[in-house]
């Protein structure tokens, strides 16, 4: 007697079972996750896939943009008047600073030349448009409309009219990824504009206020203080507005004060951003003695490239 075959006849041949597929592909995903998280092997694959995908995405968005431009064409006269009014008042408010800027810049250049210092940042910047925001709730990212074809490089600072927004962390040919200052893996070396106290502003993730960590309770920082970049990291040029202190808690017995800040730049609002020219390479860091001096760490911490 012939045994009854365990498998059904191959009329409805459909390849391996779903369980086999999900096991195989699940393992493949885990391998990919490790390769990407630990070793960053897959940046080239990502760029290649991006080069195919992003133009398609643009193409799909064309009808919507066309509609928007038609709507903008018919924008009411009152809206335009109001915006004009606002822009004029902003222009007047900023004109003293703008008029003062040129002599100060010249003087600065002269002084630097006298002191034999090199300019720390090249001239030139690129205006970019925000394409979309990252959906990932674990990271704070934006995607903007220019890329390596426009000369952008990873590590450049990104600002808007109010302050620092973030930095470029990945540059594709036609678009780039901006890690915002609110991202958990992002840090900006800052100083308090009023008192000059140096610290590092760490992002805390979506919906949480960025914090100044490792700041002693005795530091001269008050609610309402403006924080500007200190320029110590070689990524952000010095003097850009970053955040405002919104809360200071000094608990006795705690090693550090708890200082919460609100970003000044429109990290979740601005649609037009400015990518600053990449920093001029700093001289190489001197060899450190084996045990690092902990007192200097706060000021020297580098802005970590987002991950």
């Amino acid at each position: 007697m012939r045994p009854i075959p365990a498998e059904p006849p191959p009329i409805f041949r459909r390849g391996p079972s779903p369980l086999a597929r999900v096991t195989f592909l699940g393992l493949a995903s885990i391998v990919l996750l490790f390769a990407d998280a630990r070793f960053r092997y897959l940046e080239d694959v990502r760029h290649a896939a991006g080069a195919i995908l992003f133009p398609l995405q643009r193409l799909v968005r064309v009808p919507g943009e066309a509609l928007d431009s038609v709507a903008a064409y018919f924008a009411s006269k009152r809206d335009l008047e109001r915006e004009n009014e606002r822009l004029k008042s902003e222009l007047i408010a900023q004109s003293p600073a703008a008029q003062g800027y040129a002599p100060v810049r010249d003087e600065n250049a002269r002084l630097k030349a006298l002191a034999g210092l090199k300019a720390r940042h090249a001239e030139g910047s690129t205006v970019v448009q925000v394409l979309y925001t990252g959906r990932d709730p674990f990271a704070q990212k934006l995607f903007v409309s220019r890329g390596s074809e426009s000369g952008l490089v990873a590590g450049s600072a990104v600002i808007d009219e109010h302050g620092v927004v973030g930095q470029l962390t990945r540059v594709h040919p036609t678009m780039s990824e901006v890690t915002l200052v609110t991202d958990k893996d992002h840090a900006v070396p800052v100083k308090v504009e009023r008192s000059g106290v140096r610290s590092v502003l760490f992002g805390a993730g979506a919906g949480r206020a960025p914090e100044l960590r490792f700041t002693p309770p005795s530091a001269d920082i008050r609610v309402g203080d403006r924080l500007v970049t200190s320029g110590l990291d070689g990524t952000y040029p010095p003097g850009l507005a970053v955040a405002q202190v919104t809360g200071v808690e000094r608990e006795t017995g705690q090693m550090f004060a708890r200082i919460e800040c609100a970003p000044l730049g429109g990290v979740d609002r601005s649609e037009t951003l400015l990518v600053l020219a990449p920093p001029v390479a700093l001289p190489p860091r001197p060899e450190e003695p084996s045990e690092a001096d902990p007192a200097r760490k706060g000021g020297r911490a580098k802005a970590r490239r987002g991950g």
């Binding site: 779903p18 996750l33 925001t133 959906r135 674990f138």
Partner: protein, 180 residues
């Protein structure tokens, strides 16, 4: 025959209604639209509410057209989503593959239920998907997200009934051929 009589009513199909097979181009088109919907610029409350349209559409087609969309297609689309969202390679791929596998068992019974009961089951599948992503990210060193992380799967489940009605509309038999 007038046009009005050819167009099916804009309501979910009854269980006894036999749907026409899905057209491959329509499947591709809806998945592409879902991908675009996922990348629309949003912020604030809208971003916290925004469901994963790709997961939702994949789930629908895994149930309705398992011959076209299964574990393999879902995994590939997950990789695309990883590139578009700049997340770790394999994060969405893993989640979508497991989602498609869940749908494989789910689909044999889910169409018997009324839409709102389907939505409850969809909520569980989407939540499992979100938990998987959470596990991957937390193992990778990310902090625990806020409670709003639980909102998108619920919004996704709430969108299930309207999405079903819209997506199955081209598959509905014309009224002249479905008089009961």
């Amino acid at each position: 025959m007038s046009l009005a009589s050819r167009v099916p009513s804009f309501a979910p199909a009854r269980p006894e209604e036999i749907l026409k097979p899905a057209k491959p181009w329509f499947v591709v088109l809806t998945l592409a639209l879902a991908l675009v919907a996922n990348t629309l610029p949003t912020s604030g409350v809208a971003l916290a509410l925004k469901p994963d349209f790709v997961a939702l559409t994949l789930l629908y087609w895994c149930i309705q057209a398992p011959r076209y969309v299964g574990v393999g297609v879902s995994w590939t689309l997950g990789l695309v989503m990883d590139v578009v969202d700049a997340t770790l390679f394999g994060q969405h791929a893993l989640a979508y593959a497991v989602l498609a596998y869940g749908a494989e068992y789910f689909r044999r019974r889910v169409l018997r239920f009324p839409l709102w009961q389907q939505a409850v089951q969809v909520a569980f599948l989407l939540a499992a998907c979100a938990l998987l992503v959470l596990a991957v990210r937390v193992i990778g060193g990310a902090p625990l997200p806020r409670w709003t992380y639980a909102v998108p799967p619920i919004v996704g489940a709430l969108l299930w009934p309207p999405l079903t009605v819209v997506l199955q509309w081209p598959q509905r038999p014309t009224r002249s051929s479905s008089t009961f």
